[in-house]
């Protein structure tokens, strides 16, 4: 990294502050739309941290996949399901909050305790490949990580087909190829809620 240490420290402080405050906003704000946009800010700041760590390719992938795909998908889902609804109050909310907060704080203290130890033998910065990391990632993906790379493509295909099948709304009444009526028992009926009536 050719940037001076002071600049790195300032960038790191600003980015971590944005990450932590943004993440708190994501889980604490009332409006789910604000949460979604803050989540985009958190993803961008994480990409900035990757740039500080000399990983330009992963930072670009983070911006493209998380901000460009996942965040847009979440905003679309909010637009589809956003309905003002009065949540039923749950009776033991306070004890639940106390238990979950204490679990999180305990985990956090344990993690910080482990983080602050100094047992890792750090590599010397002279062996760093620095800006050539994209070339090295390409070599990895086509030599020793070839099988996971190909399996990831199959996983993406399966996720795409699964998402289409799960979220499909229109139901075809007859088979396109044969013209016979489709067995409607097996297909989810879009207009009828299946579980609400059963009371």
């Amino acid at each position: 990294m050719s940037i001076a240490l002071t600049t790195q420290l300032i960038c790191f402080s600003i980015l971590s502050l944005v990450i932590i405050v943004g993440a708190l906003g994501v889980i604490l704000l009332d409006s789910i739309v604000y949460s979604a946009f803050l989540l985009g800010g958190v993803f961008m700041s994480v990409a900035g941290l990757y740039l500080l760590l000399n990983a330009s390719f992963v930072a670009a992938a983070q911006v493209l996949v998380y901000v460009g795909a996942v965040n847009v998908l979440i905003i679309f889902a909010i637009m589809l399901v956003n309905k003002k609804e009065d949540l039923k109050p749950i009776d033991n909310l306070k004890s639940r909050r106390i238990i979950s907060t204490s679990i999180c704080l305990t985990l956090l203290s344990l993690l910080v305790r482990v983080d602050s130890t100094d047992v890792w033998n750090l590599a010397s910065p002279s062996t760093s490949i620095g800006e050539d990391s994209t070339i090295r990632i390409g070599e990895h993906l086509f030599s020793d990580y070839l099988l996971p790379f190909e399996v990831a493509s199959i996983l993406l295909l399966m996720a795409m087909i699964g998402a289409i099948v799960l979220a499909r709304r229109d139901v075809m009444n007859q088979d396109i190829s044969t013209g016979l009526p489709v067995d409607q028992e097996l297909i989810e009926k879009a207009r009828e809620p299946l579980l609400v009536k059963k009371k």
Partner: protein
Amino acid sequence: MNLESIPLQAFLIVSSLLFCIGIWGLLNSRNAVRVLMSIELMLNAVNINLMAFSSYIDNNLIQGQVFTIFVITVAAAEAAVGLAILLSLYRNRVTVDMESFNLLKW
């Protein structure tokens, strides 16, 4: 490590904080979309950890960056399938309240 860079511990503490915020949101959110957002936060915390270790300990082979790319791939697939499940739940239950999804509760 010389003093010419940010300590590794700083990255680890940021990622621990992000992970715990994600767990808190996962346990306390009532909106199903917010639960998915908390999962994304936790995955990002893990990614920061992998990237920091890859840069400070394995800065020649950078296998951590390859792992991060695979985690990003799986996270994208998870978000797509999770939101599709959420849409089909919403179509059946007409709510996104996590407390009303109790079909498998004993």
